[in-house]
Amino acid sequence: MEKVLLKNIDRPDAHRIDAYMRYGGYRAVKKALARGRDELIQLIKDSGLRGRGGAGFPAGLKWSFVPHDPTIQKYLCCNADEGEPGTFKDRGIMDNDPHLLLEGMMIASYAIGASVAYIYIRGEFAFGARRLQAAIDEAYDKGYLGKKIFGSDFSLDIFIHKGMGAYICGEETALLESIEGLRGQPRKKPPFPALAGLYGKPTVINNVETLSCIPAIVEKGVDWFKSMGPEKSPGPKLFCVSGHVKKPGLYELPMGTTIRDLVYNHCGGIRGDRKLKALIPGGVSAPMLTSEDLDTPLDFDSVAAKGSMLGSGAVIVMDENTCIPRVAYITNRFFSHESCGKCTPCREGTHWLTEVLRRIEYGDGRTGDVELMEKLCTNIFGRTFCPLGDGAVMALRGAFKNFREEFIYHITHKRCMVS
């Protein structure tokens, strides 16, 4: 496949504006500015582009919710928090091709009528933030940001807002709280951000990868975009492969690439030619799949049909020697650590789940612990303020579904079933 999002990944000068333009950059935004806003929104709707941040919400549809009234201030926020364990795709774009993201943001801002945009980048990405700031400075110098960009009537400022270590700030309303200088705790929805977001103004939040798809859609059109991947989940997709594969890393492939193709072709199979035991298809909030699911196409709907989710496209591969109770412990410890504390079922529930998993992991498991955890899950699921708590439950239930006997073994034998 012709690379779209990673087309500049092997060009070490692509982060400089002149090189980016030599490789064809900043042509799409000029084209976009010559079009009407509604026409652009319709284009993105027709392309079928779905959000790459996790939920797969149609990007054009989200943009269309923003009120048209030109007297109201509007904002675009780029979600570069990239906190879902296993995920490292947005970093790949920002470190190597920051102007691609800026160009996508310019087009999106123009389409929704935003004159100010923020990039919410996780604080640990110091290198990426420096690259982005340098790219923003270059764009201002050329007159591509600021007042009346590219000689049009459209003005845009882009600022970086650095996160400071809080997974929950990837949730879009917690992200807005954080930009407002508050603790990152989710807001009640509705109202949705498209109507009342940052400082109460209409705001679109899109993921880095989503926004980075935009320039190519404007340049090459809807038919080209839809020629990749399935009808309802088209386009290129970044897959972050980690764990027990021979060649872990960032891969750009069409949506709908099968797990088998990704793991055994592109990533060279499992280390030591061991057997694949389990695989998380979309970051740790996504329930695990097994070797029986290898022919599942990696797109939003196909993975959902298997009871899991494509999420952020973080594919975590586990070989036959992996202890699943240990994976569950590490995963739940993460959720408990990152629970923002706003609602009790999540704050208390993930804490207790982690305590039970810890004692199982360290050989102190008690008979009935699996049932106890199932009860805890019931008390969390559907009762939390935001999806973090549900994600923790879904991940654990996924582990129980396929590997329940391994938990029982760990409890009765006080050690792993494997190795």
């Binding site: 364990p85 490292f88 640990e124 200088g181 508050l182 603790r183 980690s242 890393g249 975590i316 994976v327």
Partner: protein, 156 residues
């Protein structure tokens, strides 16, 4: 101590936002960096004045976000090893044990000379090059115990 230079740096950040309160996070980060990784109570009161919020609000932000070291001072080199799933699958445990042995300290501690603090952290978004760690701003990836020794030897 917030010098005139830092104050000006913070004041520049106020302009990024429709509401200056938003600059609390930037301000805390700038002050922490200038303070060698630490923030004091007096710093927070000063930030509150510059940004125009209640000191309680500054405190709440400093306490919520894990990258602020308020109340938990760190050494000159803050070593943070990822303990999350992709790193754990590739034996991050071995890296942590090696660091504890070499630095003669436990995770969560700071050496007596304040040179090193060793912490474990959740996923740092570098899972394809696991196991990994961060020392101050920089990422170190595809770690082995030998590689860790080289890296530590290379720090002045």
């Amino acid at each position: 101590m917030i010098t005139e230079e830092i104050r000006q740096e913070i004041q520049k950040r106020l302009k990024k936002y429709a509401n200056e309160k938003s600059a609390v996070m930037d301000a805390l980060r700038i002050v922490q960096r200038a303070g060698g990784g630490n923030i004091t109570k007096a710093d927070m009161e000063e930030i509150a004045r510059i940004v125009g919020v209640n000191p309680v609000a500054v405190n709440a932000v400093a306490a919520f976000y894990t990258m602020y070291n308020y109340g938990k001072p760190v050494g000159r080199y803050h070593i943070q090893v990822c303990r999350n799933i992709s790193c754990a699958l590739l034996d991050a445990e071995r890296i942590i044990e090696h660091l504890e042995k070499r630095l003669k300290m436990r995770t969560g501690e700071t050496t007596r000379d304040s040179r090193f603090t060793l912490s474990t952290v959740e996923c740092l978004g570098s899972c394809g090059t696991a196991p990994m760690m961060q020392i101050n701003d920089d990422y170190y990836e595809n770690l082995t115990p030998e590689r860790v020794d080289e890296i530590l030897d290379g720090l002045e």
